[in-house]
Symmetry: C2
Subunit: 113 residues, 2 copies
């Protein structure tokens, strides 16, 4: 049993899953893997996220130390989101997951449209 931010988890995998929990976090991390991105750029890359949720998720990822943001003092504002070292290092596992899904694409009867 381990604790993180006053919540308990049954093991490290449990916690790791918590950090990327939800519809969008893993996708966001994946999108950030090839360089920093601006807010709207990120939103366009992940068609379907609402601004509200994207903001929430980015804040959570930042709060957990997976990404950081740079705010440029311009108007209209320019903000860039970037992976931290820890954020970069989670990519291999996400990539393996992706490859796994690709491998079993036929068996799962995934339809590409």
């Amino acid at each position: 049993m381990i604790y993180y931010k006053d919540k308990k988890y049954v093991c490290h995998l449990d916690l790791a899953m918590e950090l990327i929990r939800g519809k969008w976090k893993a996708i966001i991390l994946c999108r950030l893997n090839n360089g920093p991105k601006r807010f709207l750029e990120l939103q366009r890359m992940t068609c379907g996220v609402s601004q509200k949720v994207l903001n929430e998720k980015l804040k959570e990822l930042e709060g957990d130390g997976l990404i950081f943001k740079t705010t440029y003092p311009e108007v209209p504002p320019k903000v860039e989101f970037e992976l931290t070292e820890m954020g970069k290092e989670i990519f291999p596992s996400l990539n393996l997951l992706k490859k796994w899904a690709l491998k079993y694409e036929k068996q799962l009867e995934i339809q590409s449209k």
Copy 2:
């Protein structure tokens, strides 16, 4: 954009995450990695799951082809849950995730109790 069971996903990672979404699925898969387990055995191994939720999750995992169950015609019933080939092959990515969390244990200020 891909489709699986009439729902759409932005990419294969999105779908893979869906298959292990929720508080318990990844943990269950991990527990099953060293051999088949009975229902109550699984529940005791993952302290905290309610019977209801464990049942739901096992059904979902079965429905997605990650595990299968064998029911022995006894009373009281004996049921064993086991990883399919696809289920076994997701383990490396989960294990990598776990190692990642272990690596950043100090930085995340995880408390072991």
